[in-house]
Symmetry: C3
Subunit: 137 residues, 3 copies
């Protein structure tokens, strides 16, 4: 069992591929024969999800769709004190989820060819986000 | 490895912070040095998610957004026999998810400062919901 | 710890109950006293979720709602090279999730009476999808 907290570099609002940054912080993974890696984000206005790791326009379209489906300044929002990007960020975080669980095999993430880990940064200025990585064998 | 079934008290339709009720039913957690706690709801019209534990208007706005995004009585619904709140409840349950996975460290949930566990009660009269808690070390 | 890759039979676009097909490929489950089973799909245009296992119109209504919420040919999509069903498939995959985590007890999935595992096939011709099943005790 391995568990560690990692601080990701700050990123602008949008969706970002962070698979390599996680691996760079997880050299211990190479000795895990088989198991599960759980990556959990310690925030309620950012999210983690798995999706296409190749064409960057997928991540652009994610931002476009989510911004339309979950608008800022909806007239019925009551939670508005922290800015117009805040309540949509909470909704996006729960729709996408706070964590991903990735199979591990032979010291590597066992993902599909086209799967990568996305950070959904849903605030305009979210800053450096912290994650907790737990690997169970 | 610890696994137990817990019956939550019944709650009205909407989103509810249940972190403390889970902890009250999980005294064994204090002896877990590090691992993962999985909380799974045994129902298809209620959900579990992580979000802001402070301002209760976040939970009000969750209900407002989800009720607009997933309307009752959509003309194309075929699954209508169990009431107008039923099919939307199934959709909300899958969008939010049936379980949350929480890192555990030093006998406590290792959540962000502002993270709590929400029960999404998506039926008008859902009654007492059952969850299964599994803790792996 | 048990981990294996399973190829599901190809299914048409829509939502499909696959609990039994997974169990048919997992005879080893019967010897697991208690734990967690993780089922992960190795694709970014299909999803796994838990929902009602009885009335098949729930799965029809899932397809209806998701097709309306996440339209094809939205004018703002940039990722359009792989067909009009492709970008919506990526969004559906992340909204529903790439995996489900199911408690295991006494050699069986510990699900609610009405819970089953859905495959969301979001492409018109997705083909045979591969999953990785990991069981931790």
């Amino acid at each position: 069992m391995l568990q560690k907290t990692v601080t990701l570099k700050a990123r602008p609002r949008g969706f970002h591929l962070i698979t390599q940054e996680i691996l760079d912080n997880l050299p211990e993974l190479s000795s895990v024969k088989a198991g599960l890696a759980h990556i959990h984000i310690l925030h309620t206005s950012a999210s983690l999800t798995l999706n296409e790791n190749a064409d960057p326009t997928v991540r652009v379209d994610f931002e476009s769709w989510f911004d339309r489906a979950i608008p800022e300044n909806a007239p019925y929002y009551q939670h508005t004190m922290e800015g117009s990007d805040d309540m949509p960020a909470h909704l996006k975080a729960s729709l996408l989820g706070s964590g991903v669980l990735v199979p591990v095999r032979d010291g590597r993430f066992c993902l599909g060819t086209w799967q990568g880990i996305y950070l959904g940064e849903h605030r305009d200025h979210g800053g450096a986000r912290k994650i907790v990585v737990t690997v169970l064998e």
